[in-house]
Structure formats: C-alpha cells, structure tokens
C-alpha cells in the first residue's frame, strides 16, 4: 500500500484514504467543437502509460476531498513528489517533497 502525502493536509496517509485519478496534466481542449475525431480520441482515450516517472492525479477522498498531483516511479512505485492541482510538475530529479512508501 502506498503512503501518500496530501499537499493540502500536509500529512502522509495510507493509500486507502485516496482515489486514483489517472494521468495528470491532460487539459480539456478549450473548444472541443473545433477538434477533429483523431484529436478528440487522443484527448479521451490515449494515455502516456510510462514505465518510469508518471505524473498522476489523486484525490484525498477520505480526508480533505481535494484533487492534487503526484510524481511516482511506476517501476518501484516510489512517490517522488506531490503538489497542488494547477501547479506545474516539479523536476523529478529534485529532492523529494512527497512521501515514499
């Protein structure tokens, strides 16, 4: 089970308190009607699914209820950083601000 630091509550809590929200930083197109099918399909369905550092959304469902983002190594499952929604992804090589497991 992961131990995840909620950046709002500023506490490391067990994974069971959280809901996974999929790949982070997938921006909804500002004007969907102008997109062709390929671009819309890409937005809806295509995911990076990296083997290595992934930026992903989590929601502190049983805590503050808010969404935030997280950098995690998908091979070791080690969490490298967590940061508020809307903030840019930190450099994964920089010292960790999230909590490991």
């Amino acid at each position: 089970m992961l131990l995840i630091r909620c950046p709002y509550c500023d506490m490391a809590r067990p994974e069971l308190e959280f809901r996974y929200g999929g790949q982070a930083h997938v921006a909804r197109p500002a004007d969907p009607a102008t997109l062709d099918d390929a671009a819309w399909g890409e937005f809806l369905y295509v995911r990076s699914n990296p083997r290595g550092v992934a930026a992903e959304r989590w929601r502190h469902a049983a805590g503050c209820g808010r969404f935030f983002n997280c950098l995690r190594d998908t091979v070791s499952d080690r969490i490298l950083a967590t940061y508020p929604a809307g903030a840019p992804a930190p450099d994964p090589a920089a010292p960790a601000s999230g909590s490991g497991r």
Binding site: M1, L2, D37, G41, L44, V46, R47, N49, T74
Partner: protein
C-alpha cells in the same frame, strides 16, 4: 517426437531419458520475414498459425525474459465466452471452439477442462445484468443458463447460499462449456508446434528499438542480442505494449495495472467448477494439483512493478471466506502479480497501426488467457494478409477515433 501411447510406453521403459527438447533454442538470424515481439501465449499462438495456416516460417518470436513468463504464466486460467456484445461473443467463442480441439491439434495436453464457469448475482442489478448476458448469448448460440441459489448450491456444494452472509446469493449464470486450462502447457504446446514448423523462438532477447526506413515503414528491431531486419512486426507484449509501441512513436489507449492471484495449499477435490463474483470481487477454482486458485483485483494505480498491494489480496480473501466458509482455515502458499494492459472499453486491440508494417495485438487486460487460441489465429491472418480477419476487424485501434467502442467495461465492470 510425438506424444502417443507407444512413445510414452517406450520412454517409460527407457527411464524417460530419451525425450528430445520440445523446441529449438534458436540464435537470432540477420533478417526475418516477420517478427513477433513477446513469447506469451498470444505471441506463440500467432507464430504457430502463421506457420501452419499461412506458410510463413521464416519468422522469429522475441522474448525479453523466458517463454510464458509474462501474464500467460501468471493468470488464473478462466475460460469462457459469455460476453455481452456480438463482437466479443464472436472472438471469445472462436477461441472456445479452438480450445475444445487444442490438445489434439497441438499433440500436447493443454488440460482444457470444460468444468463450467458460474457467475454469481448478489442483487437486482446483478440479476438484470447476468440475465441480459444470458439472453444475448442465447441469441448468439452460446450456452449460458440461469440457476436459482439452490441449483447453484447443487452445482458447487461448498458455496454458501444461505441468507446468512452479507451479500446473499440470489442466483447465478452458468456457462457449462467454460472452464480452465493449463497455462504453461498452452505456451509450451504452441512453442513446440511453431518451432517444429521452423519458427525461431529466441528468449532473453529484449527489443529495445524499432527501426524505420526513410518512408517511415518498419525496417527492423534492435535487441539486447543485436539488430534484426524485418519489414513486418507484430507487437504482442501485453502489459508492456505502450513501452514497445513508443519505440515507433505510436501512443496507445492503454493503461498498465498490477493484477494479483494467489493459490492455497493443495487439498483433495472440493469444487468441480469455477465460481466468480464480480460484485464482491472474488473468484476461485481448484487446480488439478489440488490448490485453490484465487484471483484478486487490480490496484487502483498504473504500475510496472509486477506486485500488487496486500490490501487488494486481503479484500478478495475476505470475500472468498464469506462465499466458501469451509476454506477459511486454509493457508495461502503463493501470491504474485502480473501487469495487464487495459483499454478504455475493456476490449482488445488487434490489427494495423499508423506505421506501415507495424501490427499490434494487445489490450486483453485482465481477461485474455481465454482468448489465446482465437487471438493468435485471427492475428496471424491479419499479419499474413495485411487485412484484418473478419472477427478481428471490429477490434481496430481506429475505434478510439471513430467512437465505435465495444464496451465490455460497462457490461461487466470486471472481466476475467
């Protein structure tokens, strides 16, 4: 050497020292007519049917680890074809028909056992959903029948069908032709058949890059055992498909999740069938060795770690203990994980890609073992002819552009 009564008797007398190796251990050649990436059941079946039905024998199957060491060797081997949508019914039923004759076809005992797969209903929604499947299956000529709790109990006597449990069983759907098979034997049997027809199976050979020519078409692969030229590649890499496809700059509608299973200590035969409950997430069968084979769920997050969280397995065991009270004191022997490639509609992707010469067979997610023979059969056709097999055609990568999804996700919520 064929497996026959005579040969088994001869070898027994000779102390079983004369059996030859089951497939050649091949060295990579400089070039092949086609390369399959991934020696799981699906990749090996593809190679077998390419050689047998399409006469393509100058081909290689490249495997980064050992043959069958991916999800093929890690799954709980449930086989069934009672899916909801016509497209799915066609491909899974194609596979079940091939399973029925597979041991004979391969001259290799894959231990296909049509012992029946029973899926439990615990509430009104389950009843509606399972009955809808039964009716859809009946229209497609696929067996699937409704059982009352008493009938379910008669079919599997260790099942708790009283009102005393948290989510009492209110009925069940039974596919009698569903069942299990021996996972390793499927990989070994296809490997043996393909190798005998000239296919090179190369283990410990990881593909690290896909080469393209000036026009963008596939021209070869780079591997940990050197570069190999080819104009046709079939990617059959299950949980690692996104990683392999990225080598050709193709982004996929896939996410990779850990999925776990467990087996108990072996005991005498106590259940004759497979029992599944999607609602409380537990399923169980008994192997011929006597172990109870139990499947857990996926973790909530994507990962390539090949291990799942302990709370996921615990959750399933709680449900198992509730459904089968008599197994409560059994000890678990092993617990492991595989990485499954999940599509948004929980249906596979089989066919062409935007890159000329590059084909893909993936997205089987949590439930592709049952499809192994059918998947290999239709994908071989697609690779050999360049055109999708009619059964595979609806499962194109392009459906995520056109929107013609085959939504087994909504239909089943869980699929195995």
């Amino acid at each position: 050497m064929r497996f026959s009564f005579l040969n088994v008797a001869r070898q027994a007398l000779a102390g079983n020292s004369g059996w030859p190796e089951q497939w050649r251990s091949a060295e990579p050649k400089a070039a092949y007519d086609a390369i399959i990436i991934g020696a799981g059941g699906h990749g090996l079946a593809t190679a077998y049917y390419l050689a047998k039905e399409h006469g393509l024998t100058n081909i290689a199957v490249l495997e980064k680890g050992w043959l069958g060491g991916g999800n093929t060797g890690r799954n709980t081997t449930i086989i069934r074809s009672n899916y909801l949508w016509e497209e799915s019914e066609a491909i899974y039923e194609h596979a079940v028909k091939l399973w029925e004759g597979l041991s004979r076809e391969l001259n290799y005992n894959v231990m296909y056992s049509a012992r029946g797969v029973m899926m439990l209903a615990h509430n009104q929604h389950d009843v509606h959903s399972l009955k809808r499947h039964i009716h859809a299956n009946r229209l497609a000529g696929i067996d699937n029948e409704w059982l009352t709790p008493a009938e379910a109990n008669a079919f599997c006597q260790i099942l708790e069908t009283s009102e005393a449990i948290r989510y009492p069983i209110v009925g069940a759907a039974l596919q009698r032709r569903g069942g299990t098979a021996r996972h390793d034997a499927v990989a070994w049997g296809y490997a043996r058949g393909a190798s005998a027809r000239g296919v090179d199976i190369i283990q410990n050979c990881e593909v690290t890059a896909i080469r393209r020519d000036a026009g963008g078409a596939v021209s070869g692969v780079e591997t940990t055992r050197g570069a190999i030229a080819t104009k046709k590649i079939g990617v059959v890499a299950a949980g690692h498909t996104s990683v392999v496809m990225a080598m050709a700059d193709v982004r996929m509608p896939l996410e990779s999740y850990p999925l776990q299973a467990l087996v108990s200590e072996p005991v005498k035969p106590l259940m004759p069938c497979v029992v599944m409950s999607n609602t409380i997430h537990a399923y169980m069968s008994q192997s011929d060795k006597g172990e109870l084979v139990i499947g857990a769920g996926t973790d909530s997050y994507t990962s390539y770690s090949q291990t799942g969280g302990l709370h996921i397995a615990t959750h399933t065991l709680e449900a198992i203990c509730e459904l089968f009270p008599m197994v409560r004191r059994l000890r678990m022997l092993r617990n492991w994980g595989g990485i499954v490639d999940v599509t948004p509609d929980r249906s596979p992707i089989i066919g062409r890609t935007p890159v000329a010469g590059l084909f893909v067979n993936c997205g089987w997610g949590t439930g592709g073992f049952k499809a192994t023979p059918g998947s290999g059969h239709v994908f071989a056709h697609t690779l050999a002819t360049g055109e999708p097999h009619p059964i595979a055609a609806p499962f194109s990568l392009d459906r995520f552009r056109t929107g013609r999804l085959i939504d087994e996700a909504a239909a089943a919520a869980v699929a195995h």
